[in-house]
């Protein structure tokens, strides 16, 4: 049992993520969803349970958190780790070993279990989670979803009573989310207490027993799944929560009659390290089109996007812009990619300087105008690193607008975004589309696709499986691509 008694916490130098006067009891075996806007305090709540606060993140704490009657603040980290297992958002930085077996054993090695038991436990975990085929692999060669499974397995092997998951689905595709859901059901059936902090709610609706809604550091809602589902969508939107049922989502924009094509690919084939990844790609796209690029991990979406931007050079066939063949260099000048981790593409020391960074004769008025249009003007003198995830994305988009790029590509833009940021991003994409940009969005997020895209490009088996305009007739097919319904 976990008990919070009058717990308040604040991080030094930040108002975000603080908690105020939390009183909460989570009985054994309960499966709880924590939801709310970014910065509402849900991650902070999980950190108080796994001991990262106050031992890793310092700040001002009052009150006490009890784990089976013991005060967590007085337990050393490794003792808490025996009872509370934690899985985090970013699969890239959760593993410590290069091979999967050692990684799964990492936690129990720390517990100093004898060698024979280590082996037996790793084997047992692999069987119970159905990940035998991931054993003996190099972790760097795994996909994001597979890495996340290994992270989960490593904690599972330690057999904690409580499992905490902080935005575990952020970097997962649709099928990986389905498997995560299965794993959650499994640990729940074993009687473990499960606590998940999430923005994507739909996949948890038939797993969780209880939903806690946090707002500015307080718990302002405590729902059963039935009560929660009964909230109407207008109420849910004002709470800043994402959809609970993907089936109810419908596209907002239907494809307009075909605009004159500006981008054309003729029989393009792409290879990576001499192996063909995609072949036989032919398509046309017009000004203002917003195209979702979907497909499983390894279907070639990344290679395709990098080729569009001129970053990938092993490309055969014709790439035309306004009827003229384009060399990679020319493509690079014309296009911009907003990366999944935007931190890689912010270089300057202030938001204002970022907009004109690297441009020889920058158009200052245009930069100013763009910043205020995207709601970033108040942060002009802030360091890009101090912005939130959504703001950083908008800043990256702003730089592309100042450079006058015509083709924009967004790579998994909604990972880790809350409802409000997602809506704002959708509005930004509408604006860019209105300016006549050709936009591609690599995404797994059906809710977001419904709000932005007019066309779906589905990769599979090394080629384009489907190229569908968003229309009423195509809707069932689109839903099946996204595993919805």
């Amino acid at each position: 049992m976990i008990e919070f008694r009058n717990v308040s916490f604040s991080y030094p130098n930040s108002k975000d993520g603080c908690l105020k006067n939390i009183n909460l009891t989570i009985p054994d075996g309960q499966c709880v969803l924590l939801c709310g806007r970014s910065g509402c305090g849900k991650t902070t709540l999980t950190r108080l349970i796994n001991g990262l606060i106050p031992q890793f993140f310092t700040g001002e704490v009052t009150g006490e958190v009890l784990l089976n009657g013991e005060n967590i603040f007085q337990l050393p980290m490794y003792r808490i780790a025996e009872k509370v297992g934690s899985v985090f958002q970013n699969p890239r930085t959760q593993f410590f070993n290069v091979d999967t077996d050692s990684e799964i054993a990492f936690g129990i090695e720390n517990q100093a279990l004898p060698h024979d038991e280590l082996k037996a436990r790793v084997k047992q975990t692999a069987e119970e989670l159905h990940i035998q085929k991931l054993l003996g692999r190099n972790i760097f060669a795994l996909s994001g979803g597979e890495k996340q499974k290994i992270a989960f397995a490593s904690v599972y092997t330690m057999k904690p009573e409580i499992m905490l998951l902080d935005e575990p689905s952020s970097n997962l595709d649709m099928s990986a989310i389905v498997e995560l859901q299965k794993h959650l059901k499994l640990i729940k059936s074993q009687g473990k207490t499960v606590i998940v902090a999430e923005h994507r709610l739909y996949y948890l609706m038939n797993v969780v027993d209880r939903i806690l809604y946090l707002e500015n550091g307080s718990i302002t809602g405590d729902y059963s799944p039935k009560q929660f589902r009964a909230l109407n969508s207008a109420k849910r939107c004002t709470m800043g929560l994402r959809t609970v049922d993907l089936c109810k989502e419908r596209p907002l924009y239907f494809a307009a009659p075909h605009a004159t094509p500006v981008l054309e690919l003729r029989n393009v084939a792409l290879s990576y390290e001499k192996k063909t990844v995609l072949h036989n790609i032919s398509l046309q796209a017009g000004h203002g089109e917003v195209i979702a690029v979907v497909g499983h991990n390894g279907a070639g979406k990344t290679t395709f996007s990098r080729t569009l931007c001129g970053l990938h050079k092993e490309c055969f066939g014709e790439y035309l812009w306004n009827g003229k063949t384009q060399k990679p260099k020319a493509r690079m000048k014309r296009s911009y990619m907003v990366m999944q981790d935007v931190n890689y593409q912010l270089f300057a020391e202030s938001v204002g300087a970022e907009c004109t960074f690297g441009i020889k004769q920058p158009n200052i008025p245009l930069a100013e105008k763009t910043l205020s249009e995207l709601g970033l003007a108040p942060y002009r003198n802030h360091h890009p690193n101090t912005l939130s995830g959504g703001q950083k994305q908008r800043l990256a988009a702003a730089t592309s607008m100042v450079c006058g790029k015509e083709l924009l590509l967004f790579d998994e833009p909604t990972s880790g975004l809350d409802y409000d940021s997602m809506v704002r991003l959708a509005a930004l994409i509408q604006k860019l589309s209105g300016m006549g940009k050709v936009i591609f969005i690599v995404t797994h997020d059906y809710e977001f696709v419904c709000r932005t895209c007019t066309r779906i490009l589905h990769f599979g088996g090394g080629q384009i499986q489907n190229d569908l305009s968003v229309t009423e007739e195509n809707l069932p097919k689109i839903k099946s691509i996204f595993n919805v319904g």
Binding site: T93, N97, M337
Partner: protein
């Protein structure tokens, strides 16, 4: 093919021996034999290419050194000899360290250090660092793309044209990524009980095998030979 797996403790000891060998080396020939010996170690550890490249590069350096000693005179000679002298001293150790880092699993390293009763305060940061190194390579791919999209060339030529800009474009995102990755890695390790004071066990069995002793004997014999050579010669 089965490749040689040495105990992490052996590897550490070999590095120590290697430092001594490089220090007491009586001639260029001995240095070269030492590098060749390390090359042999790389080959049996399954690192063919690494061995070949390492030894070939060193052979070139040796040739260049003899040429310098023979042909050059004056300040140039002093300058080059001083620089090459340093290079010769560190080359072998650097090459061996490369093998050690790429063949040692983090968990294995931690467990071996626990056996040696090294304090965890020392070994955990080293483990985090070992784990962080390969992520830099991943980061670098993303950063290269980001630079090219901003019309900054991530090449030597680009660096020569606009050094300040290029350096800025590399170190800012790398630093941001590094501090984030280090935090997340530490969190992932403490929440899995890395600080547990019990002597850590390991899935990969850690014990001194015949091959470990053989490797140690080889390197010690080489060191002994060097010392004898010095005394006699």
């Amino acid at each position: 093919m089965n490749t040689l797996q040495l105990d992490p403790r052996t590897k550490l000891f070999l590095i120590l021996l290697c430092v001594l060998c490089a220090m007491f080396s009586p001639s260029l020939l001995f240095q070269f034999v030492l590098v060749a010996l390390i090359g042999l170690l790389a080959v049996v550890s399954g690192k063919w290419k690494y061995a070949l490249r390492g030894v070939a590069a060193y052979a070139l350096i040796c040739l260049f050194t003899t040429w310098c000693m023979g042909v050059m005179t004056g300040t140039w000679r002093t300058m080059f000899v001083a620089f090459l002298g340093l290079l010769h001293k560190v080359y072998a150790c650097g090459m061996l360290a490369g093998i050690v880092i790429s063949t040692t699993k983090v968990g294995e390293f931690l467990s071996a250090m626990a056996r040696l009763h090294f304090p965890k305060k020392l070994t955990i940061p080293i483990a985090v660092m070992l784990r962080y190194l390969p992520t830099i390579r991943e980061d670098w791919h993303f950063i290269k793309d980001a630079m090219r999209l901003r019309d900054v060339s991530p090449s030597l030529l680009g660096f020569l044209k606009a050094p300040a800009m290029t350096v800025n474009c590399i170190y800012v995102p790398l630093l941001t990524a590094a501090s984030k990755a280090a935090d997340e890695l530490s969190i992932a390790s403490v929440t899995r009980g890395i600080e547990n004071p019990k002597p850590r066990t390991c899935l990969v069995e850690i014990r001194m095998r015949k091959t470990d002793w053989l490797a140690i004997v080889f390197f010690t014999a080489f060191l002994a030979l060097e010392l004898i050579w010095k005394v006699v010669g």
